[in-house]
Each structure stands twice: as C-alpha cells, then as structure tokens.
Symmetry: C2
Subunit: 417 residues, 2 copies
C-alpha cells in the first residue's frame, strides 16, 4: 500500500484539535471517519495530526500541515470552536491567515435563536462562536451553535469544522462532500460487504492479487461486531468481483455500504417472515442485543433466553437433566436441545442455541476456552450444528461467537431455499 | 485544560505509522492508549501524528515531531517495523540519525527460533526485522518477531515500537514504563471511578473547581458502556475527594482503575450472594451481555429473559394481558410486573424489568422515543421503580438504558443494607 498521491491529485491532511485528544481522554474518531470518506472519493490523506488547545501548537500544526499537503491540497480541521477560552482554533487560523476575527452577524443570530428556543439566556462567551477570520467563507450550521468556515492559504483549501463527530458528519454531507467529490478521482463504483470467520491477514492474502492488479481494496476489522468491512472498487458484477465472491464463499455475510451482519440477518428473516427465538449461554445475550439493534426487528424477533446455568437450560428450554449430567453443558447435543427448546416454546420458525466456554476460567484439555457449539433448528425440520474453537479473550470470544451464530442463522435460512 | 508542559517537564510526542491509518481503514488506538499512560505518569503529550508508509513522509513527520517536543523530550513511534517493503520506519529513523542499518544477530536468531518452533521456513524478508540503526539500543521482544529500539536525536529520546496494540502494551510494560516514570512528575495517588447518568459537560462543571485548584483531573466518556471514567489525582480519603464524592452522589457507580459498572454490580451481588434474573424489552439483552462479560458472574446470574413482544412478556414473565392492553407495554406497572416475574419464576433474590422506546419509530407525544421505565424487585419485599427520558439514537438509548438498569440494581442492593 502506498500513501503518496498520484500526480496531479489533491493531497489531504487532517488536523484535530483538543487537549483531551493528546491526553488520551478521548479517542480521535473524526480522522479515521473523514479519511474513509476521502478514500471513497479517490482522495489521498497523507497526514493525521492532533494537538492540544494551545495557540502556538495549533499554529505550528496548521502551518506544517499546509506545507505537507502542498499547493492544490486540502486541510480538514476539527475541534476548538467551542465558546470557552480554551477554544483557540479560530484564533490560530486568523493568525495563520494574517486576518483579524470578525463577528458574523447571521451566526450570532442563529446562536441567539437556539438559546431563545430553549428559553435560556445566552452566555456572553457564546458570542465567540460567531467570530470568523475576515475573508473566510462561513459554513452555516443546523446541528450546533458554532459555524464552520473555509479559507485558502498558499494554495491549500482549509475547512474548519466543530469537533463533535455528529457535527463533523453533518458538515461533511452539507458542505464538504460536493466540492471534494469534484477534486477526487473517484475510484469508480464500489462493492461493499462484510466478512465473518476469517482473520484480517487471511483476508488480505486472498485479496492481494486483486489489489496488486490496481483495484482499490479497503478493509477494516470491526472488533465490536466480530466482522471485517471490505470495500472493493469494482461493480459487484465484474468478473474479478465474482471471483472474490466465489473465493470468500460463506465468509461473505452481508452486502451493501453500512449493512451489518445483524442488519442482513434481520432483513432476511423479515423478508421470509420467519420468526426467531434465541437461547444463549456463553454469549450471554449478545446475539439478542445485536438483533435488537436493528430497527423493526420486532416483526420477527419476539423473545430471547439467556440460559446461563444448567438449571435455566432445563427450566426455560427443556434441555434434559440427564443430557447435561452425562455430557456437560458444552456439547453439540445441548446446543441442539437449546435451539429446539427455544423454537418450540416460542412457537417460532427458527431456534438458535449457543453453548461454550468464554473463559478465562472453566477450560479443560477436552473442552478448552474458546470452544463453542452452535445449533439452528428450523425452518421446518432442518437442524444445523456447528463447532468452533474461537481465539481471543473473554470479550472477543463472546463477540465472535455471537457473529458466528448470526451467520449460522443466515446460512440455515438460505439453505432452506 | 492546558496542553503545554510545565517548566522543566519532558514533553512527549507520538507518531504512528501506517497507510491504513491515514486511509481510515484502521482507527489509531495506540496514541490514545500511550497518552493515557503518559498522563498517568505526569508526562505531557503535545502531539499525535499519523503518516503513511512513505519514506519521505515518515522522515518529515519524525523531524518535525522531534522539533515540537524539543530537547529533553521524548518521541514514541509505533508501526512500520514489519517484514515487507512497505515497512520503512527503521529506514526513516536511520536516515534521520545519519546511521546505517545493521543486522542485530540476537534478534535474527530470535526470529529464526520462532519460525523453527512453528516448523516453518523463515521467509528472507523477515531478516529485515532484525535490522536496527547503528548505535541504537535494541529493545528485545517476547511477543512478536520485530524488536523495538531506542536512540537519541537533538536531545530527544526516541522509542520505536512495533504497531500491534498488544505488542505496544508489552513494550510499554517491559521497556518504557520504568524510564518514563523517572522522567515524569507523578501526579500522586490516583482515585479512579466511573459515573453514570450525568453528561460529560455537566461532570466537567462539577469538577471544574477542583481542576482549577491544580489537581489533575481526567475524564473520558465510554460510549460503549454508557459511563464516564474519571481519574482524580488525590487519595480517595482527601477532603477534596470526599467533597466530590458527596457532590456526585449516586452518579458515582464504580470505584477502582479499570472497574466497570458491570464489574461493580457483579462484585456486589457475589459478595452479598444475591441471585439476579433480568427481563429486558427495549435493551434487548444488553444488560445480560454486560453482566456476562464479568468473569465468575455465573455464581449469581443464571438467566436473563429478552421479552421483546407483549406475548413474550405474558409467557415468560406472567405480565397480565389486561395490564398490557390497558396501559401499553411502556409503563412503570409493566416494568414492575416484569421485575417480579423474572425474580419469582427464577427463584432469584432480585429481578430487573426494563421496558421503553429505543426508536427510531414507535414514539408518541405521551411516550416519546427515549422514554424508559425500570424496576428492581428485591431483595426481600423491596421494589424500586425509575422513569428516564434518555437522549441519543437507538444504540445510545439502549446502552444508556442498560447502564441505568445496572446502576439501579446497585442502588437497590445498597439501600437494602
């Protein structure tokens, strides 16, 4: 992977401002989010930089970043536009441009109107938020108090935005997306999908040939979801894309930009009108939590059971005590009995059962930490069972098991066609 | 908050290297993690910078960062020490120091031994990982293939580490913590706790006086947990700390570095030997998932019910159909019936009930999106009910409701004393 921009293409730098960032109190998510949008437009980000709320430090950061992206480039700046004396970004840009700060009357009126609407007095400090460097172009806001602004220095277009991620996204859509699209060399139609059950490096190996052939390929591990998000700049119908699809096989679990595995499973169940009931042991409710994150899921998901103890597996799901005694709770037969019990007791079309050892304790030579049994009962008489040895710590095992379970539901439904 | 180092104190900068970072494919978590450690030692980080795998860009980033921290300062560099031609950090540091790269025989032998252990041939490219700039001090590794190294330039101590976060943490403990502790002005004993149900800015206001008095205060919103982590550099028994405790009251929900709200609730239940059963509607299993993230929780948590539909509230919890019909699912009476049903049917000491509207649809004028009713039945005859209007999108409402529910369990148990 090369980070240098190709000849004639705009280089972009991102500067995020806030003492809380360099003190490690807040993770800078704006830089990665903005970079992802830029890459999508075919623009090349060559720099992320965070600096504290200190006038000298901000001026140096901006000056060096303008130099680094060079004439024809773009600098995106977020943060430091709040109302307090700590918020120095507008002062730093004014100093850099050699322009005084001026009051922007419409922005002041916007802030006053916001306070009036919530029946509060506007503190005097909020007037600061209506100041912009003379000559800068104001980017009006509808999502907060502070406006953004745009200015040019040494041939570099500088966009200055408020720091809250929600506001950054709004400014991107409203004010940045269009002019930056015009600067980018769009890498063409994108095919976005997610994979499950395959590590990022194994994925990189499988996509290497495609990448080496010049196709833009991006992937990002999503530790919270147990999946990897992949974007390939090819139409999904291109033969090379089809080859990737064939190679990835069942690992490809959701398609479409921003579509999670839970979204895909939810849409599939809703489309087929198949009601699901879940029975979770080692995942402790994570499958239910993933599914209920999907708006509208109530059409097909009406209950989930977290049967953590043996007693609860008997009470809630009718898993036979003799089976639990003879084979222990972590085996395929118990997962299957859980899946059937969940389905039958809820009168659902599909039941899911998960039982495993998330650790850190509880592992044995025969049944090590990370061993998880899955079963899906239904639709109809079908029953699918799966055994996996998952790597990672307790949280990673729980998340990966939940993703594997969602994927198994997807496969069970699709194979029923 | 000021980001400048106080007189005579080492300034620190962090440079993370990798095209995947500036392309937005991978979130840079090393910088925030390292900064948090530095702040803990009383050191001041003044710069985060990420740059692509490009020799010129890395050299410029390092040179400017050395300048920014200045003589007596420290530069931490992560990433770009892999075996491929993309990995150029060691070349960039060598260029910066004006020293050639030299093969470090013990590091080569370490890498060869690793490959031998896994019975694989070492690719020739891995020899690159044993190269270090002449004169640099090698930091041996036990967690990967590439060693780190340390060197000095213009009075700045530079530490270069491999990029994987797991390796960064190991190198910190083994090689960096001690020398950097010696450079820091430790801010003294730390009192770490978490808060729930109070926004970060409201928290900042309450802690402002303490911070203004010169006490080091840090706080970080934990969006995934619905809590804010706070560290105050005072002994918990200090009168000023006691005043904070009194001021925060019930918002202070967990104490100890790294102790989450779920950890605190789990420990409390285990200590009192109180068994809990949960019944969740709008949180969809998130309370159960939080609790089962705590190792050893099976001693007190044996089941959780996700009763998403009205029918499941009747079937699983015995909530009366007439109540659901007369008042709807989102009201205090239903939350109370859920809590009692969960407790009684599980034979537990405590039952939790949650019902609300997570959105985006389903809200009305009377019952808007974000309205959540909570109830805890037990221990004994006690019953606590709570109503909250929570801000945010669907995910934020679900997470905040789960955190509020955990906190209510804590308060119910503590008030039973």
């Amino acid at each position: 992977m090369q980070g240098e921009a190709t000849e004639g293409q705009s280089k972009v730098g991102i500067v995020t401002i806030g003492t809380e960032l360099v003190r490690g109190e807040r993770l800078d998510t704006n830089s990665a989010w903005l970079s992802d949008q830029l890459t999508e437009l075919g623009l090349t980000c060559v720099l992320h930089r965070s600096c504290p709320d200190d006038l000298g430090a901000i001026v140096r950061a901006l000056r060096q970043s303008v130099e680094e992206v060079g004439a024809g480039g773009v600098l995106l700046v977020t943060g430091g536009l709040g109302p307090t004396n700590d918020d120095l970004t507008r002062d730093a840009v004014a100093e850099l441009l050699g322009s005084p700060l001026e009051l922007h009357q419409p922005s002041l009126e916007h802030i006053q109107a916001l306070y009036a609407r919530f029946k509060r007095d506007m503190p005097d400090s909020n007037r600061r938020q209506a100041l912009v460097p003379a000559g800068a172009r104001v980017l009006a806001t509808e999502v907060g108090t502070a406006p953004g602004f745009a200015a040019e220095l040494d041939g570099v277009q500088i966009y200055v935005l408020p720091g809250p991620p929600r506001e950054v996204r709004w400014f991107w859509d409203r004010h940045l997306s269009e002019p930056l699209t015009a600067r980018g060399h769009s890498p063409g139609p994108a095919w976005a999908f997610r994979t499950v059950g395959i590590g990022e490096s194994a994925l990189a190996e499988r996509l290497h040939a495609l990448e080496a052939s010049g196709v833009l390929v991006r992937y990002a591990a999503e530790d919270r979801l147990g999946t990897v998000a992949v974007t390939i700049h090819l139409p999904p119908t291109d033969p090379a894309a089809q080859a990737v699809r064939a190679d990835l096989g069942r690992h490809l679990c959701a398609e479409g930009r921003g579509v999670t595995l839970a979204d895909a499973v939810g849409a599939l169940l809703i489309e087929r009108d198949l009601r699901l009931a879940t029975a979770e042991s080692c995942t402790g409710g994570r499958v239910a939590a993933f599914l209920t994150g999907v708006p509208g899921i109530s059409a097909v998901f009406d209950r989930g059971l977290v049967s953590y103890s043996n007693q609860s597996k008997q009470d809630l799901l009718g898993v036979p005590a003799e089976l639990l005694e003879a084979q222990g709770a972590v085996c395929s037969e118990v997962a299957q009995a859980m899946a059937r019990g969940a389905r039958d007791r809820a009168g659902a079309a599909i039941g899911l059962g998960i039982t495993g050892i998330a650790g850190p304790g509880g592992g044995t030579e025969d049944k090590p930490v990370g061993l998880v049994h899955f079963a899906v009962a239904g639709p109809g008489e079908r029953l699918v069972a799966l055994e996996r040895l998952l790597p990672g710590d307790r949280e990673q095992i729980q998340i990966r098991a939940a993703a594997t379970a969602l994927d198994l539901i997807r496969l069970a439904v699709q194979s029923a066609d």
